[in-house]
Amino acid sequence: MHAVLALTARHLQEKLPSLSSPHYDYKVREAHHLQKSLSTFSPKFNTTIHEHQDAVLATSFLLFFHSCSVIPTTLPTCPCADPSFTFLRGIQSIVADGAHIAHSGRYSTLVEPRVPASVTLPRGCSSPAVHLMQRIYDLPLNSPYLKNIPIYTERVQTLAPHLSPLEQGEESEDLLLSVLRWQALCPHAFVDLINAHDHIALVILAHYYAAVKFIISRSPKKWWWLQKKPGRMVQVIADYVGPAWTGWMEWARGEDGVGEGKRWSGRGQMIVWAWGGLKVTSSMPPCE
């Protein structure tokens, strides 16, 4: 209940900022309920998670929505920290711990595996994912980033479908759930790189936020709790990595036309991405 009330207090501040008064300060109310909901954390949880999995998932999602809606005005100590990231991964771990229960529960529609959107062939065989991998493989031989290439590759490969153009008729919510799943499934190794402020990992994360931003830009009146964060996170990451990484951040920052109708003209062809040698494999249709 406290999570419900914290999120609602946040919603009222976003939508009706004039509603708050000294006696009805929704910011105070939000903080109160957030603290209450979080302070109920208990070691006993681990023994009751399966029994109350629906309630646990509902609360986790509510707190995820809330954390997505919070945009710090000042840079946090870790400039790329995003609490919603942790919540999503927490939800994933709950599902992994009790997959059968989760997939048969009330929230199964939100946690069941999603098939990523198909990758459509861009004209000229160009895509943000390909460009990203090309930059990674073009790193100098003495680059300290080389040892992490397998981690980068896995993350870019799995993100690639979400960087493809959107087809008419695709449900925005399905796309959003699908791309959120990418973040939820980030392996520990990648999270460690993020926490270590690894610049390439941050660039990949910025591409994820750009993909989310593009999806929600199709529905500007929906998902009030997520409208601001993706753009803000791209900006934060760009500021953090600095001008030396401008080329790497070009697509994520929208300087390559993302969200402006200048993306690929997909034709529905299925392709298989392969990163070895930086080329798309021959199993795809030939480029036009």
Binding site: L34, A55, T109
Partner: protein, 121 residues
């Protein structure tokens, strides 16, 4: 009637409206209005949500303002989340009132969220 209440269109539950009408402006101005009794149990029953036995203690935990937030959630906030609105307006509310919940978070995460909560916005 305080100005803010004129702007609220989602709190349309008759019992809430009646209870609000009985509050004098001075009480709102002094900030004592939220302490007036407005049982959570009565509000959720009006919404058709069943509460588990023994949950009457919620009336002591949540005050009038919380009930208004709860009603806003069921009427408005729940319609713009992920999944079906009934997943939140009905299912989540029912779970909230039936389950003594502990939150599935690592303590480090808890600390980070609390930091966010205390950050001025």
């Amino acid at each position: 009637v305080p100005k803010w209440r004129d702007q609220v269109t989602t709190f349309t539950l008759p019992s809430i409206s009646k209870a609000s009408a009985e509050v004098a402006d001075s009480e709102w101005q002094t900030g004592t209005a939220h302490k007036l009794p407005l049982p959570v149990t009565a509000a959720v029953q009006t919404l058709g949500i069943q509460m588990a036995p023994g949950m009457a203690e919620y009336d002591q935990v949540f005050d009038k303002q919380d009930v208004l937030l709860m009603l806003h959630f069921t009427s408005t906030t729940s319609t713009d989340l992920l999944g079906s609105p009934t997943l939140w307006a009905q299912d989540a509310m029912q779970l909230a009132l039936q389950v003594r919940l502990v939150v599935p978070l690592h303590q480090n995460h808890t600390a980070s969220i609390l930091t966010i909560a205390s950050t001025p916005s």
